[in-house]
C-alpha cells in the first residue's frame, strides 16, 4: 500500500507498448508479464541467434543469455529473470546479472517491499539460498520450502542436513535427515521430515511442520517440538500483532482436523479437512478453509462455518485490510465463483483469480475468465472483455482501480473509477 501511494493515479489511459509487434523483432516471444504499477510490460524473447533476453516496453535488455526463465516483477517494480551463461546460472535484476554464479538457481522470492530478493541455489551438489547476491555460508544435502520475513532480514528453509544413501530406510525414519536452517544456520534437532514453515512477523521465531519417525507429526518452533503429537499436521502460520510467538496449525487426530495454537486446540469444531488458516491483519480473527463433511467445502471463521458449502474446492482465503470481511474462491459443479462473507457473486466463471479488497474493505475485485476472455469484476460487476488482464489494484483512497490489460495486441495501463464498474 505504501508503495502504491507513489503511483500515477491520474492518467486515465496510457498505451504502454504493443507486445504483438515484438514478434517482428525477435524469433520467439513468450507470454507477457506486467509490473505492479502497470508502467512496464515484459516478456522473455529469443533472438535469431538462439540467445535469450527480456523485452521491456519494446526494448530488449542489453545482455543476452544462453537460457532464461521465470520472469518476475518484484513489489518495487524491478524485473528479475533466472539466466544462464556458459553453463552457470544466476539471477538477473533489471538486466544485470548477479556477480555470483551457481550450478543452478530457482524459486525466486521477494520480501514485502521487494528490496530483498532470494533464490534457491545448487553448487557442487550442495544446496542453499542466495539473498541479494550473497549465498548462505552453509550448504546442505538438499533444500525444500523456504520463507522470508516481511522485512527481508531473515530467510528460513527446510533443509536436508544429513546425507542418505540409497534405500537406507531405517536411517531415514529412525535418525532423520531434515531440519530447518535460518539464515543458513541449521537447528540442532534433526527430523524425519520438515515441510512447510513460517517466520514470525518480527523475525524472531520460525515454526515448521515436522514428522518424527513415520507416524508422529507435530510443529517444531525454534527447534523444539510441541509436546503434542498428531496423526498429521499442515503448515503453521504465526499470529500477527502480538508479542507472543503463537504458531497456529491444522492438526489431525482420530481422523478429524481442527486448528491448534502452540499445540492446544483452539476450535471445538472438527472437520474432514482444515487448511490454509489465516489471521486477519490485526490478528484477532482466525479463519480456515474446511470440509465440514466429505466432499463439501466452505470457510470457518473462529470455528463458525459459512452457511454455504461448495462441492469441489475453496481456495485463496483473503481478509480485508480491516479484518471485517473475508473472501475466497470456490468451485462448485464445475463453475468458479467469488464468495464474499459466505455469499457467492451471482456470476459464475471459467476461472477466478484471488480476491482483492479495497483499503476500506467495502469493495472486492478480481480478474475473471469466461469463454476465453478476461475482465475485472468488481463487487460482481464486470468491466469490458480483454485478451489478457492482470489482477486489479485499488488506489489508496479506494476510489479508483488500476487495470492492466491487453486489447488488440496493445498493452494499456488504465485508471478506472470504481463508479465505471
Amino acid at each position: 500500500m505504501s508503495e502504491s501511494k507513489k503511483w500515477d493515479w491520474d492518467t486515465s489511459e496510457e498505451l504502454i507498448a504493443t507486445p504483438s509487434e515484438w514478434k517482428t523483432k525477435f524469433a520467439r516471444v513468450q507470454e507477457p508479464y506486467v509490473g505492479p504499477d502497470g508502467k512496464k510490460v515484459a516478456a522473455i524473447v529469443r533472438n535469431e541467434d538462439g540467445t535469450y533476453t527480456a523485452c521491456v516496453n519494446g526494448e530488449a535488455w542489453e545482455n543476452t543469455y544462453d537460457n532464461m526463465w521465470n520472469l518476475k516483477f518484484g513489489p518495487d517494480g524491478r524485473l528479475t529473470a533466472i539466466v544462464s551463461e556458459a553453463g552457470e546460472w544466476t539471477l538477473a535484476v533489471d538486466g544485470v546479472p548477479w556477480e555470483n554464479k551457481f550450478a543452478y538457481v530457482w524459486d525466486t522470492k521477494f520480501n514485502e517491499d521487494g528490496q530483498t530478493i532470494a533464490v534457491k541455489i545448487q553448487q557442487d551438489t550442495r544446496y542453499g539460498v542466495a539473498v541479494n547476491d550473497q549465498p548462505w555460508e552453509n550448504s546442505f544435502e538438499h533444500i525444500g520450502k523456504y520463507v522470508m520475513t516481511p522485512d527481508g532480514q531473515h530467510v528460513a528453509a527446510a533443509v536436508q542436513a544429513v546425507p542418505l544413501r540409497e534405500a537406507e530406510v531405517f536411517k531415514f525414519k529412525d535418525e532423520g535427515t531434515w531440519t530447518v536452517a535460518v539464515d543458513g544456520n541449521a537447528w540442532e534437532k534433526i527430523f524425519t521430515n520438515v515441510w512447510g514453515l513460517d517466520c514470525s512477523p518480527d523475525g524472531k521465531h520460525v515454526a515448521a511442520e515436522v514428522r518424527m519417525g513415520l507416524y508422529d507429526y507435530t510443529i517444531a518452533m525454534d527447534g523444539e517440538m510441541w509436546p503434542e503429537k498428531f496423526n498429521c499436521v499442515w503448515e503453521p502460520v504465526f499470529r500477527p500483532k502480538t508479542s507472543e510467538a503463537l504458531a497456529t496449525a491444522p492438526v489431525r487426530a482420530a481422523g478429524k482436523w481442527t486448528l491448534a495454537v502452540n499445540g492446544k486446540p483452539v476450535w471445538d469444531s472438527k472437520f474432514v479437512q482444515c487448511w490454509h488458516q489465516t489471521y486477519s491483519p490485526d490478528g484477532r480473527k482466525l479463519a480456515a478453509i474446511v470440509a465440514p463433511s466429505f466432499g463439501q467445502w466452505t470457510v470457518a471463521i473462529d470455528g463458525k462455518l459459512w452457511a454455504t458449502t461448495f462441492n469441489e474446492l475453496v481456495q485463496d482465503l483473503t481478509f480485508s485490510p480491516d479484518g471485517k470481511r473475508l473472501a475466497a474462491i470456490a468451485k462448485d459443479d464445475g463453475h468458479w465463483k467469488m464468495v464474499v462473507d459466505g455469499t457467492p457473486w451471482p456470476a459464475m466463471y471459467d476461472m477466478v483469480w484471488p480476491p482483492v479488497f479495497s483499503p476500506d474493505g467495502s469493495k472486492v475485485a478480481s480478474k475473471v475468465e469466461k469463454g476465453g476472455k478476461y475482465t475485472i469484476a468488481l463487487n460482481g460487476k464486470p468491466w469490458r472483455e480483454c485478451e489478457a488482464i492482470w489482477n486489479p489494484v485499488f488506489s489508496p483512497d479506494g476510489k479508483k482501480v488500476l487495470v492492466r490489460s491487453i486489447e488488440d495486441g496493445k498493452y494499456y495501463r488504465r485508471i478506472v473509477p470504481v463508479s465505471e464498474f
Binding site: R28, F172, Q273, E312
Partner: protein, 446 residues
C-alpha cells in the same frame, strides 16, 4: 492353466531387510494395539460387510493371475484374505511378528490390488481394499518391503518417487526442451505458466529414466497447439507409492501438493502421462483421503487426452504402423476408469493390424507389476515374474511383436515377463506410437 511357475526356478526364501528388521522390532502388545486401533478407528463399515458377506466360494480364484500361474489355493484372493485379514480379525490382533511379516509379504508382493477378483466375486467384494488395509496395518507396524518403503520416503522428502531434486527436475525439462527444439523450433515446455489451459504432470521415473517421454509429450502438445504448462516445483509428480504402502498421510500430502500446484497455476485441467497407479491415486484414493469427492481440478489420463485430440482433429495421423500390435489394458484405467474403448479407437487410428489379446478390456490379466509390487524391488523380481506365467501365455498367443501398454508399471512388468519367457516382443507407450504415426505440420518443423 499356465505352467506352474515353480518349475521355472526353485523357490528360495527372499530376504528383505525392511521386513526382517521391521518384524524384529515388534512385540505382541504393539501388534495388538495397532491392529485394534485400525479396526476401531480406521476400518470402514465396508470391511465388516465384506467379511460378513464372503461365502468362501472361491470364485475369485480364477480371477487372479497368481493363482492361474501357480495353481494352488494359497495364491487365490480368498486364500490371501484367509491368511491375513480373517486371521487378524478372528484373533482380534493377537498375532505374532512372524505373522505380520508373512502378511506383509502376501499383501505387498502377492497381490497387485488389481481388482480383477472383485468382478469374479458373486458379491463384488473389493478384495483389493482388504489387502490394502493389511498393508496399512503393516505400515503402522513398520513392516514394509525395503524398496517400496524407500520410495515412500522419497515421496515424503521430495514429493516425487525417485528422489529427484528440484533443480534436477527443472534442468531435465530444459534439457528435453532444448533437444526437442531441434525438431520443432517453436516448441516450449513452459514452466509455471499461470492461466495455461492444461497442467501436464508425470511420474518420477520420467525425468529419472524415461526423459524421452517428456520430449515426446512436448512434441505432441506443440503439434496439437495446446496451451500447456508444467510446475517448476513440487507437485509435478502424480505418482504415489505411499498409497500402496498404506502411508495414507504421505499419500494425502503428495496429492495435496499435486492438486494445489494445478490450482495455483489456474489451469482448467490436469493431463497426466501414461501411468495407471498414479491415475488411481489422483482420481480415486488420494483425493478422497483429503476430503475431495472427485479431483478438484479435472484430471484425465493421457490416453483420453490423445483420444480427444484425435476426435477433435487437433492431431492427425499421417501414416499407420504396419506391424501387428496388441494392447494391454492397464487395471487402473480400465477397471478403474473404463478407458478401454478409447484406447481401441487410438490403436485402430494409428495401427493397421490390431490383434486383441484374450481376455481383454476389464477382463485383462494384470501385468503383476502394479499395486506397488514392482516397487518392492530386486529381491522380489523373480517371484513376481514367475507369478505371472499366465500373462506370458496370453502375450505369446497374440503372435505379435509389439505390445502397447499405456502404463509405466505395466511396461516394467511386461518387459520382465517378455525377457524371462523369451517372447520376442517389445512394449510401446501410445505416445511412442503417435510419434511414429502423427502428422507434424510443416510450419512447425525446423
Amino acid at each position: 492353466m499356465a505352467v506352474p511357475a515353480t518349475k521355472l526356478k526353485e523357490k528360495k526364501e527372499i530376504i528383505d531387510v525392511g521386513l526382517e528388521e521391521g518384524a524384529a522390532r515388534l512385540t505382541y502388545e504393539k501388534i495388538e494395539q495397532v491392529i485394534n486401533r485400525v479396526i476401531t478407528g480406521e476400518m470402514a463399515a465396508r470391511m465388516k460387510v465384506y467379511v460378513d458377506t464372503c461365502i468362501h466360494c472361491g470364485m475369485c480364484s480364477t480371477a487372479c493371475h497368481y493363482y492361474l500361474s501357480h495353481g494352488t489355493p494359497e495364491w487365490a484372493p480368498v486364500g490371501k484374505v484367509k491368511q491375513t485379514m480373517w486371521e487378524i480379525l478372528e484373533k482380534k490382533g493377537k498375532v505374532s511378528p512372524e505373522f505380520i511379516k508373512r502378511a506383509s509379504i502376501i499383501a505387498s508382493t502377492e497381490c497387485n490390488v488389481c481388482r480383477r477378483c472383485s468382478m469374479y466375486c458373486p458379491y463384488g467384494i473389493d478384495i483389493a481394499y482388504i489387502m490394502a488395509t493389511v498393508r496399512r496395518i503393516c505400515h503402522l507396524l513398520g513392516v514394509t518391503p525395503q524398496y517400496i518403503q524407500d520410495t515412500a520416503h522419497s515421496h515424503s522428502a521430495t514429493m516425487n518417487q525417485m528422489w529427484v531434486k528440484e533443480d534436477e527436475w527443472i534442468d531435465t525439462l530444459q534439457w528435453q526442451e532444448g533437444e526437442a527444439q531441434a525438431e520443432l523450433p517453436s516448441l516450449r515446455i513452459a514452466l509455471d505458466k499461470e492461466g495455461a489451459d492444461i497442467m501436464y504432470s508425470v511420474i518420477g521415473p520420467e525425468p529419472k529414466f524415461r526423459a524421452q517421454l517428456i520430449y515426446q509429450a512436448a512434441i505432441l502438445m506443440t503439434a496439437a497447439g495446446v496451451d500447456w504448462t508444467m510446475p517448476a516445483g513440487p507437485g509435478w509428480d502424480n505418482s504415489d507409492m505411499a498409497m500402496f504402502t498404506g502411508d495414507f498421510e504421505i499419500m494425502g500430502r503428495v496429492k495435496r501438493t499435486h492438486f494445489e500446484a494445478a490450482a495455483n497455476l489456474r489451469v482448467k485441467k490436469i493431463v497426466m502421462g501414461e501411468c495407471g497407479h498414479a491415475f488411481r491415486s489422483v482420481y480415486d484414493v488420494g483425493n478422497r483421503w483429503l476430503g475431495w469427492k472427485m479431483p478438484p481440478i479435472p484430471v484425465i489420463h493421457a490416453t483420453q487426452f490423445y483420444y480427444e485430440l484425435l476426435k477433435e482433429g487437433k492431431i492427425k495421423i499421417a501414416r499407420k504402423l504396419k506391424e501387428p500390435v496388441t494392447l494391454h489394458d492397464p487395471c487402473n484405467i480400465v477397471r478403474g476408469r473404463g478407458l478401454h474403448e478409447m484406447m481401441r479407437y487410438l490403436v485402430n487410428a494409428t495401427c493397421e493390424n490390431f490383434v486383441e489379446m484374450y481376455p481383454n478390456r476389464e477382463q485383462n490379466h494384470c501385468c503383476c507389476a502394479g499395486g506397488g509390487v514392482i516397487n518392492c524391488g530386486p529381491p522380489w523380481k523373480t517371484k513376481r515374474v514367475e507369478s505371472n506365467s499366465i500373462k506370458a501365455e496370453q502375450l505369446a498367443a497374440t503372435g505379435v511383436h509389439i505390445c502397447i501398454a499405456p502404463c509405466h508399471n505395466c511396461h516394467g512388468g511386461l518387459d520382465d515377463i517378455i525377457n524371462t519367457y523369451k517372447l520376442n516382443m517389445h512394449t510401446m507407450f501410445f505416445i511412442d506410437v503417435l510419434m511414429k504415426t502423427m502428422e507434424i505440420p510443416d510450419s512447425l518443423k525446423a
